[in-house]
């Protein structure tokens, strides 16, 4: 894990994609920074976003387990919240939540 964390740090120092020239491409397009995909802001695809009513939450963690993006984290107050940098707004967490904590609303920004 420490190694992965280092790689992620290294990946974040990589050139901006728009500045990459053909000379920067590693042999065969190999990616030598494992975890560099964490740079990709997949959240900008989103058309709906999750909202939470934590008064109903039992902290069962099903939303975290079902999230296909793996972007739901347990916060210090022990509630589970999606990271909007990565959340694609698929609504699976909302569908699976047994106590209906999560409501999807239209992304308007």
């Amino acid at each position: 894990l420490a190694m992965l964390a280092d790689s992620i740090k290294a990946a974040k120092k990589l050139k901006n994609e728009e500045q990459v020239t053909w000379k920067d491409i590693e042999v065969g397009g190999i990616s030598t920074n494992p975890g560099s995909a964490c740079q990709l802001q997949t959240g900008d695809w989103r058309s709906r976003r999750p909202t939470y009513d934590f008064s109903k939450c039992t902290k069962c963690a099903l939303c975290q387990i079902y999230c296909p993006e793996g972007c739901i984290e347990q916060k210090e107050d022990c509630y589970f919240v999606a990271d909007m940098y990565y959340c694609k707004g698929c609504g699976i967490c909302s569908k699976e939540c047994p106590t209906k904590v999560i409501t999807m609303i239209e992304e308007k920004e």
């Binding site: 994609e17 990459v20 053909w22 590693e26 065969g28 190999i30 990616s31 030598t32 494992p34």
Partner: protein, 390 residues
């Protein structure tokens, strides 16, 4: 000391792979496969070659297994032909784009339909644009030599590309020829052990064959193209070193009796030796005709071709495949390579030898004479098919 032995050329290729000390061979006995992988299976089973032999369930899997083993840093070989090459088509592109130095012998054959297992260049032309180094051999000796050279070319750190060694199906692959087999010690001295720069290694994880969005795809392809173009320097260097050690010299384009020639015949593959006999005949009859033999198909040898062919007035190109709806692929590339010259030679395009049909020395004389006639009077067609019954 090299020993001279009579052997089927397919088996000789296997022996060359053994001399090159390949680590992994993945193959599938699709029809039409050759004796190359069959004999390699024997060599591995009998303990004569210390390699992993992976019998897979299709040609697509054969090359896929090769991707994995090459990515792990193993010296990797496979062989295919005709339909088999078509079935692995998707993976052929991947091997070169991932820069994996696999060596693959291809016994060039026709592709269905009608069903044919006989030789021509149709299978090759379908993989023309896949980014592999591609070398056409002329005879059995060259099949051995180029197989050994291919490993050194592909694995060179300045190259790191897969290499196809093309040998004409049946006309070469199934012929018994006398050939010189180099000593193991000599081959070991010529061919250093493989040392792939970024092999799969759990201690140093990398991801291969990544996703490339539009913003970097063009750059990735350009990097691949530049690398393939530059590989020619290394190819020439390897042939030079091979010549120094083994006394047999190879060039991207060979010329035979080309000095002072107005007309050149051009062939690729094993027909070149037959064509030489025809050249001798027509020269005896006082016609100034020479022969060009294209060995290096990719990267395309523009420079060498322009030097050798630039002074000719007519070049008669014999293709062994049709690009349907267009014509001869070799003729078309030769024409385009010579188009920037101020004095452009006329390119006369013939297609022949399809699906294993023989072209004899006498036939080549007919092709030369008809080609010279077309150069003078023109033809109603963009190309002619030699020997077709109308």
């Amino acid at each position: 000391v090299a020993t001279r032995t009579g052997m089927e050329v397919s088996l000789a290729v296997s022996e060359a792979v053994k001399l090159a000390n390949a680590d992994v061979i993945a193959a599938y006995p699709i029809t039409p496969q050759t004796h190359i992988v069959e004999h390699l299976a024997e060599l591995v089973a009998q303990g004569e070659l210390d390699a992993e032999y992976i019998p897979v369930e299709s040609e697509h899997s054969a090359l896929s297994a090769c991707l994995g083993s090459s990515a792990a840093g193993a010296r990797t070989f496979t062989a295919t032909a005709g339909q088999g090459l078509e079935l692995m088509h998707e993976v052929v592109y991947v091997a070169s784009a991932m820069r994996l130095p696999i060596v693959m012998a291809v016994a060039n054959r026709a592709v269905s339909s009608p069903l044919s297992v006989w030789g021509d260049h149709s299978d090759v032309m379908a993989v023309r644009d896949t980014g592999w180094i591609q070398i056409f051999v002329e005879n059995g000796q060259e099949a051995i030599d180029q197989t050994i050279c291919a490993f050194r070319m592909g694995e060179d750190r300045r190259v790191l590309l897969p290499v196809m060694v093309h040998l004409d199906g049946f006309h070469l692959s199934h012929m018994v020829e006398p050939m010189l087999f180099p000593d193991q010690a000599e081959v070991d001295a010529f061919l250093p052990p493989i040392n792939y720069p970024l092999p799969l290694d759990p201690a140093k994880p990398v991801s291969m064959g990544d996703f490339a969005p539009p913003i970097v795809f063009t750059e990735a392809k350009w990097a691949q193209e530049i690398n393939l173009e530059k590989s020619k320097e290394v190819i020439l260097e390897v042939w030079h070193k091979f010549g120094e050690r083994f006394g047999r010299n190879y060039k991207p384009v060979e010329s035979y009796r080309c000095d002072d020639c107005d007309t050149l015949l051009m062939t690729m593959g094993s027909y070149s030796e037959t064509a030489m006999m025809a050249i001798d005949k027509v020269r005896e009859a006082g016609k100034k005709v020479g022969l060009l033999h294209l060995r290096l198909w990719r990267p395309f040898p523009y420079e060498e071709l322009r030097q050798l062919a630039g002074k000719a007035k007519t070049i008669i190109v014999l293709d062994r495949a049709i690009s349907m709806g267009m014509g001869g692929p070799v003729a078309s590339e030769v024409r385009s390579a010579l188009y920037p010259l101020e004095k452009k030679p006329k390119i006369v395009s013939f297609i022949g030898g399809l699906g294993g049909r023989d072209i004899s020395p006498v036939d080549f004389e007919t092709i030369i004479n008809r080609g010279m006639e077309i150069a003078k009077t023109g033809s109603q067609r963009e190309f002619e098919i030699f020997g077709v019954r109308e």
